[in-house]
């Protein structure tokens, strides 16, 4: 589209120039057309007044120090319901398995001995040794069926008996 001096830019074309996306023809037209340039100037004047006043207003607003802001942030985080929910969740995740381990119910209603109450390895070994020695002692005192019926002695006595019989 060729823009002539007589025809002015449309509102959309003016907006594109303001946005910074205007065509070179539109820019060239604005350089020559006082009316279109005036519209752009009016808008920029409004915006400049706004920017200047609003920035001065912002500068006049008292600001907190970043340190205070950081502390406030930590406080907010500590008091946050999400943090509390997470803490409770962690507690449950750790607490439930521990509770189950310590209070695991057996079918007859009794609880299994816990690891803390069970004896140590050394104690177990000592007990085993004791039981072995008891077993050994018992087996030494107890007569075996072989010795009880003198199965091994019988032939010898039988042989010894014969001369006796003979002597009789």
């Amino acid at each position: 589209m060729t823009l002539q001096q007589s025809s002015h830019l449309s509102e959309e074309e003016l907006n594109d120039v303001l946005i910074g996306l205007g065509s070179s023809e539109a820019k060239a037209h604005c350089d020559e057309c006082e009316s279109c340039r005036g519209k752009l100037r009016a808008f920029r004047s409004e915006v400049n007044a706004f920017n200047q006043a609003s920035l001065a207003w912002s500068e006049a607003r008292p600001g907190k120090s970043l340190r205070a802001a950081r502390e406030a942030r930590v406080r907010r985080m500590i008091l946050s319901p999400a943090v509390w929910a997470l803490a409770v969740l962690l507690l449950l995740m750790i607490g439930i398995p521990v509770w189950n381990r310590d209070h695991r119910a057996v079918p007859n209603g009794r609880t299994e001995p816990t690891e803390e109450s069970s004896v140590s390895e050394a104690q177990i070994a000592e007990d085993n040794n004791l039981l072995r020695s008891v077993n050994a002692a018992l087996s030494a005192d107890e007569a075996s069926s072989v010795s009880e019926y003198r199965l091994l002695d019988r032939p010898r006595s039988h042989r010894k008996a014969r001369p006796e019989l003979r002597s009789r």
């Binding site: 907006n15 609003s54 001065a56 912002s58 600001g63």
Partner: protein, 179 residues
């Protein structure tokens, strides 16, 4: 580049240089000066804590504006669940803002006219949609290019252009009535 990195290393310089601009942007983007104060603080704090991630692909100003946008989104998301609170805890005092116009070289009549311009544009901005207002401020107050706005907002260039066209149509249309 060294200048920008040192700018981020010095927290006082960071606050001194960018706080007012961020506060203005957040104030007009949210329409809530108290919330804007928090957003500006959080933005500067987040920028300082994450200064190592600044790659220098944009200016510090643009980078900070991007962080401010994310902080605002976070606040909006959080506020959705705070339904017992008021939507806005404070609002912009347009008259107060307009009183900050500098009197440099202006006669009383010019001063009055400038104040009216500020009031008028402030009121017109309130009538825009959130996207239109934010993009308008990024373009005309933060002086960002359409490409920078597109990148910061994660929006297509044509979408940014459409929002700007609509915002300008509304702003220029209503300003035209006052001129």
């Amino acid at each position: 580049m060294a200048a920008t990195v040192s700018e981020l290393e010095d927290v006082d310089a960071l606050v001194r240089t960018h706080r007012a601009r961020l506060l203005r942007f957040a104030t007009y983007a949210t329409g809530d000066p108290d919330l804007a104060e928090t957003i500006a603080q959080d933005t500067l704090l987040r920028a300082y804590n994450n200064r190592g991630s600044f790659r220098g692909e944009s200016s510090v100003k643009t980078w900070l504006t991007g962080i401010a946008i994310n902080v605002m989104r976070d606040h909006v998301r959080t506020r959705k669940y705070k339904f017992w609170r008021q939507v806005k805890s404070s609002s912009i005092d347009v008259g107060e803002v307009s009183s900050f116009i500098a009197a440099d070289g202006l006669n009383p009549e010019g001063m009055l006219l400038a104040r009216e311009k500020v009031k008028h544009l402030s009121r017109v901005l309130e009538t825009l949609s959130n996207n239109q207002r934010t993009i308008f401020l990024m373009k005309f107050s933060e002086d960002m290019s359409v490409n920078e706005i597109s990148e910061v907002l994660g929006m297509a260039v044509n979408t940014v252009r459409t929002h700007l066209q609509r915002a300008l149509k509304a702003v220029r249309g209503q300003l035209g009535g006052s001129q």
